[in-house]
Symmetry: C2
Subunit: 358 residues, 2 copies
Amino acid sequence: MNLKAVILAGGSGTRFWPLSRMNRPKQFLPIAGDKTMLEETVERLLPLIPHKNIVTISNGEQAKLIRRLVPKLPAANILAEPQAKNTAASLILATAHIYFRDSGTIVAVICADHLIRKREIFLRKLGAAAEAAFRNDVIVTFGIPPVYPATGYGYICYSKKEATRIGGQLFYSVLRFKEKPSFPRAKKYLAAGDHFWNSGMFIWRADVFAAKLRKYAPVFYAYWERILKALKEKNQAEVDSVFHEIPSLSIDYALMEKAEGVLMNEGSFGWSDIGAWSSLAEVWPSDDAGNAIWGNGTVIDSRNCLVYNPRKLTALVGLKDVIVVDTEDALLVCHKGHDQKVKDVLESLRKKGQKKFL
Amino acid sequence: MNLKAVILAGGSGTRFWPLSRMNRPKQFLPIAGDKTMLEETVERLLPLIPHKNIVTISNGEQAKLIRRLVPKLPAANILAEPQAKNTAASLILATAHIYFRDSGTIVAVICADHLIRKREIFLRKLGAAAEAAFRNDVIVTFGIPPVYPATGYGYICYSKKEATRIGGQLFYSVLRFKEKPSFPRAKKYLAAGDHFWNSGMFIWRADVFAAKLRKYAPVFYAYWERILKALKEKNQAEVDSVFHEIPSLSIDYALMEKAEGVLMNEGSFGWSDIGAWSSLAEVWPSDDAGNAIWGNGTVIDSRNCLVYNPRKLTALVGLKDVIVVDTEDALLVCHKGHDQKVKDVLESLRKKGQKKFL
């Protein structure tokens, strides 16, 4: 079995502003450990998937950064998109590259900016998922057991009754992919117990991906065919030209919500998408009062605070649940319960014409 | 009438850390306006007391700074103490310098680090107080009408019945100076209505000061006489030597708590001793939500915050009553209700041997 990873590294989030900026999103920041999240993602895979089988896809600027960060990746594996599109386009392009060489290759779609704490379990499950995708004409995904009624994730509704055991793992039939729900609906999902979070990870055989596109997303299959043809003709200009035409949709929306023949394994491997500053509170080491401080800190009567300030002294006095992030040109002080509003700061800066901080 | 001001500029507070440091206390910071508090104090006096009649007293390092900040002050007026002592020693030395030239001079003791918002009223009252001190053998002081049961100020208990009108102002007989009270006692003072805050400002004729020392603080009078003698002999070494011997006590404790013949005028001129960061919230301009921001700020869902960060962008998100002070090497984030604990930060830094931040 030929197993390759496609690391989606093209995201451009700004939820870690002011540390993350437009040209340096969180996968290129060392926020969950000593290395950037991209480097950690690559290293996590290595026992199962060597460098030569790891492909990244991102924009051109990010591709340059990836070459510097992970010099062991073959240059040909670092794919650059000619334009920022959504994941459907990225995965059509990356899978076509792989299909072109060997249509029976198993492709594991991995996010560059997610944290997985339990690496051994993850690799065991990934191996079994690859096995399942190799043996059957199915797409395999990991569902994350939900711990609260999140409205920021998509959900996977699965059938507890229909499970197959492959490689020591249980794979459930997926009934439906569901978009981000309202809060009341999310609570219902949680109560029902048959809805897991959509992790954004998928495992498919390249030819099965093509077949699913053909059957469930024919509009996208047309682009797939044209890209594949251009790759065979070594016509990069045509590849780029077709890519520009692909509608900007997520793979979830373009394919997964429509496809049948999808299996789900329980992604119980310490997953976190590190969605905002407050999620780092569970990742960084903290003191007895729950303060996680990256840098030189002095804490007086404060608890559950999070500080990123490697350059200078930070003193906290009488605070609770406050996030402090200091960079060279901008300082963020934010209540933990409001860290989703960091985007409003960016919106305000944009309106005021202070683009240098974006 | 010869009227001189003695500005006490030798304080060494650190309540405005990290902006104020050991060698740069708040009177040398531009925190209450565009100029340093010392400069503002001098300029406030000018319509009544010209530069040539303004004397400062501080340590030698601070004296150098004062020369740079207020070049119009005659060099001879910038007195330097050989050692950090309390206000009794400072005022004995400064008043002796003035007495030596003209014992009938009126001396107005002014603090370099207090804010007075209503300058016209202040000058009118200061003029009347000087008149009162000139005509009578009394020490005059300003009592600040208390607005809350403060435990951080001394109090002046006065007799409402015994009032004299001089220069259009009422001067009440002081019954007693009282040390900083406990909270229950402060509440009683406030309820009684005959206790005002001790402003630390005094107006005395130099010869009356000497007479009061002689009668109510004979230990200190002995130092006074020796300093005066050394000044007459132009023996600076002897001046310094005597100064070293003076007990380190406040003038309140050394003289005012014991002296009789003290009059008080109501100091209703917008006084604030700017005791900590939170007091600046009333001084700096603020937005509709009560946020006072010194620097480039972007505020999302936050109120009653105070930010000093002139160098970079500050973004506040979802905060209430938070103080943020960013300097080149240290960042303070502090709840407004806890700003008195900034000294605990310094204590902690001292213990950890991080003296460069003090």
